[in-house]
């Protein structure tokens, strides 16, 4: 991928931050939510999907709840439904890869149909991908690895003549799609299993055309036409979405549920109460204050899994602090000392309490098949003291009083900041201050590097190492710590043009290890997603990327 610009995971998680309200206020809500009888005894799977659905327009989508519904109603050439959510053929039956690993030829499934009975043809993919470029959104950059796509998008943006013929997306016949990449991408099949690469049905969208794009009303029933195992039949704004089994789906025989109902509830605590009352069988998130208690009580239905994200401290590596004084964190030894003197297990055992794995590496281990990180820095106070003394601050003497920044709406981060202050005082003899600011200021100060140490997080966008490592390129505008290392940039550049997956991972492993050892960031723990699943639900496995294989979900009688 050429563009290093990634949106930060914070945005997708933002909704959860506003939900920590006193529970008493919401307790009475649940008197009305007894389980409604399912019509004709059919299996309707009712669940609460985080917050409200923001949009189902593939161009605009970036929230995890929107993707969750999209996986039920749409399908791409490949779907993330294989073992360990690896991509497996869905809309395509097979794919041929050219020897230079740049040209993919997809053979479409002849019996694949839209929900209105039309066949799914290669032109539908071309149409949808072209639309991603014509009316760019959050994830358009994922298409920029395709030959000519970036140039085409840039030309459109600059109002210059753009020729789609030059883009490497071709329908050679109704059931063959040929994609040419600018350079090999080892994880391309993972990418096309992601909704921005799904096909769209142009005839049903025609009435909604607006300029170069489409009004997102095309995603609403009854107009919407999709090709997934389910079809959206009812969308009551801020109330519920109903998805019914799609009889025209090519694999309809293997779809177990007859309908899915996505109940909207914006309040995390009342979501949990609705689950407790039996009104829904699955809630995708558990309120932050309740989850640790449920875990401690071994509550039936409480499930966790490692998320594709890491909570870490970012350290400002510039030579001067925002205040103009000399920045001690500019010295790698100081940064290492700070990292080595944090007892991270205290934080996961007493503050976050969801069984989060303590992080010594940037990338969550075990979330990317085939990739293992080299070991990072552990907890070693003796070495930390030595490093600090070497850097000219024996026993912490002469170290300036620096602030640790956090967003004050996040009580977890506030508590972590207090623990850090205590541990650094105790282990290194350094006094820190704690500075809580409102969340908008917080983000702005991080991105303008107007901080010294800040508590942040990063979630991967797509299943590859580069979704993490690209953030710390010297040229990346997401590089909050301003750590610049030509060797690191070189390794990533080498990896980007490496066609062999194993060799590429080796390069990325070395690059990631540079982050772990030179400490522009201090990983604290890897996030854990918690959800509640009713024991009557089968075939639901929660996983790092919040993917659900909707075909396999069933309700036991």
């Amino acid at each position: 991928m050429e563009s290093p610009i990634r949106h930060s995971g914070i945005r997708r998680r933002l909704i959860g931050l506003f939900l920590a309200l006193p529970p008493i206020l919401f307790a009475p809500l649940c008197s009305s939510c007894d389980r409604r009888p399912d019509p004709a005894g059919a299996a309707v799977f009712r669940f609460i999907n985080r917050g409200d659905i923001i949009t189902l327009d593939l161009n605009q989508m970036s929230y995890v709840q929107d993707f969750r519904v999209t996986y039920a109603i749409r399908e791409g050439l490949f779907s993330p439904t294989g073992v360990n959510f690896a991509p497996e053929p869905a809309g395509a039956t097979s794919v041929d890869l050219s020897p230079d690993k740049r040209t993919y030829t997809f053979h479409l499934r002849p019996q694949a149909k839209w929900s209105n009975g039309d066949p799914v043809v290669a032109g539908d993919y071309v149409f949808s991908w072209k639309l991603m470029l014509d009316s760019p959104g959050e994830y358009t950059y994922l298409l920029h690895g395709i030959e000519g796509a970036h140039a085409y998008g840039d030309a459109l943006a600059a109002d210059e003549p753009a020729d789609f013929e030059s883009v490497g997306i071709k329908a050679t016949d109704p059931h063959t799609l040929q994609v040419t990449l600018a350079k090999p991408i080892t994880y391309f099949l993972d990418l096309i299993a992601f909704p921005p690469f799904y096909p769209r049905h142009e005839p049903s969208m025609r009435p909604f055309k607006e300029g170069r794009g489409y009004n997102s009303r095309y995603t609403r029933p009854p107009a919407v036409v999709t090709n997934g195992p389910f079809v959206l039949t009812d969308w009551q704004f801020k109330k519920r979405l109903r998805l019914d089994r799609n009889p025209n789906y090519w694999d309809a025989g293997n779809v177990k549920l007859s309908a899915i109902e996505n109940v909207t509830n914006d309040n995390a605590l009342s979501q949990y109460l609705q689950f407790e009352a039996g009104a829904v069988r699955y809630i995708t998130e558990v309120p932050a204050d309740v989850a640790p208690e449920l875990r401690a009580q071994h509550k039936v239905g409480f499930s966790t899994c490692t998320a594709f994200g890491t909570f870490f401290l970012t350290l400002n590596c510039r030579p001067e602090l925002p205040s103009g004084q000399k920045n001690p964190l500019n010295d790698t030894r100081v940064r290492q000392a700070l990292a080595l003197s944090i007892d991270k297990s205290f934080i996961t055992e007493n503050i976050s309490r969801l069984g989060e794995p303590v992080a010594s590496t940037y990338i969550p281990p075990g979330t990317l098949p085939g990739y293992t990180s080299l070991p990072g820095l552990g907890y070693d106070v003796k070495r930390a003291k030595q490093l600090l003394a070497d850097a000219g601050f024996p026993e912490g003497r002469g170290f300036p009083k620096l602030p640790v920044l956090y967003n004050s709406d996040n009580s977890l981060r506030a508590r972590v900041a207090q623990v850090l202050k205590q541990q650094w005082k105790q282990n290194l003899g350094i006094d820190f201050e704690i500075e809580g600011v409102e969340v908008k200021t917080f983000k702005e100060r991080n991105s303008t590097k107007n901080y010294t140490i800040s508590t942040v997080a990063w979630y991967g966008d797509y299943p590859d190492v580069s979704t993490f490592t690209d953030k710390y390129l010297s040229s990346s505008n997401q590089n909050d710590s301003d750590w610049q290392n030509p060797e690191y940039d070189g390794l990533l550049a080498q990896a980007a043009s490496e066609a062999d997956a194993t060799k590429r991972f080796d390069l990325l492993r070395r690059a990631e290890n540079m982050i772990n050892m030179q400490v522009p960031i201090i990983p604290i723990f890897h996030y854990v997603n918690a959800s509640m699943i009713d024991p009557s639900v089968e075939g639901m496995t929660i996983n790092a990327r919040s993917l659900i294989n909707w075909k396999r979900v069933a309700i036991k009688n």
């Binding site: 605590l269 309740v290 007493n350 004050s408 009580s411 201050e433 704690i434 200021t441």
Partner: protein, 306 residues
Amino acid sequence: MNRGLLSPRIIIGGGVLALVLLACLIALPWTLSSASSIYYDGQHGDLVRGVPALNPAGWFGYDTLGRSLLGRCLLGGAISLMIGIAAAAIAVVVGTFVGLIAGYTGGWVDSALMRTVDVMYGLPYILLVILFKIALETPMTDGLERLQHGNWFSSAQAANLIVMFLSIGLVGWLTMARVVRGQVLALRGLPFVEAARALGLPQRRIFMRHILPNLVGPITVYATLTVPSAILQESFLSFLGVGVRLPLPTWGSLASDGVAALSPVKFYWWMLLFPCLLLMAALLGLNFLGDGLRDVLDPKKDAGKL
């Protein structure tokens, strides 16, 4: 007068308030010393969320970081009451002064002062507080630093506290000014003031002997109401991230931590109960005291005896 001061309301209110305040103040050497078991930032790793126990540090239980809640409640009380009382004092002094001048002088002075008050009322108060904080905090930190070179206390933290009650006080005088001005306007037209003027008493004497004593009631009541509102405003500001900095506790922030520990699955009741009990005791004490003092200080109280 002496009998009035012994009214049950004053005794109970003042007693409770004094008890809480004294406890908070006397405990300061321990709550601020890192060697003590009730040190406000002393972490006892094995006692995270520990239930109340018999040893003194554990009377109120432990919070989410294993710190003695007793120590934090006592220090929090000292900080909250200091902010409340200091902010109320500023509000009362500035408000009474402005209100008196506006009400007694009248004319364009009155208009100018009251329009200023109106304009400041029109601005969201939180914006004003933040503006004051931004304007005052850096010079205050630098000033304190120059005074004591960080020898006794952290300049940034002290400046944070001082600026905190300065800004709450500087915003809180608006209502006070209006109340006092209204009262003065009403008093000025009353026969006994006219009589005093007709007798040729000097302005100062009219002011001190005839007007001010009649204002003491409303001022006292309003001052006792300002203390709790300043305490509550501080907790709101702390939530916005412009208040007292962590890990320093205040009753407001302790109570909000307590609310966060309230869930339908498990309820760490001590984290909510104790800070709220103390806050409630102090506020009730203040209200009782205010009511009692108003009765005592009312100059018309003895009018019936004449």
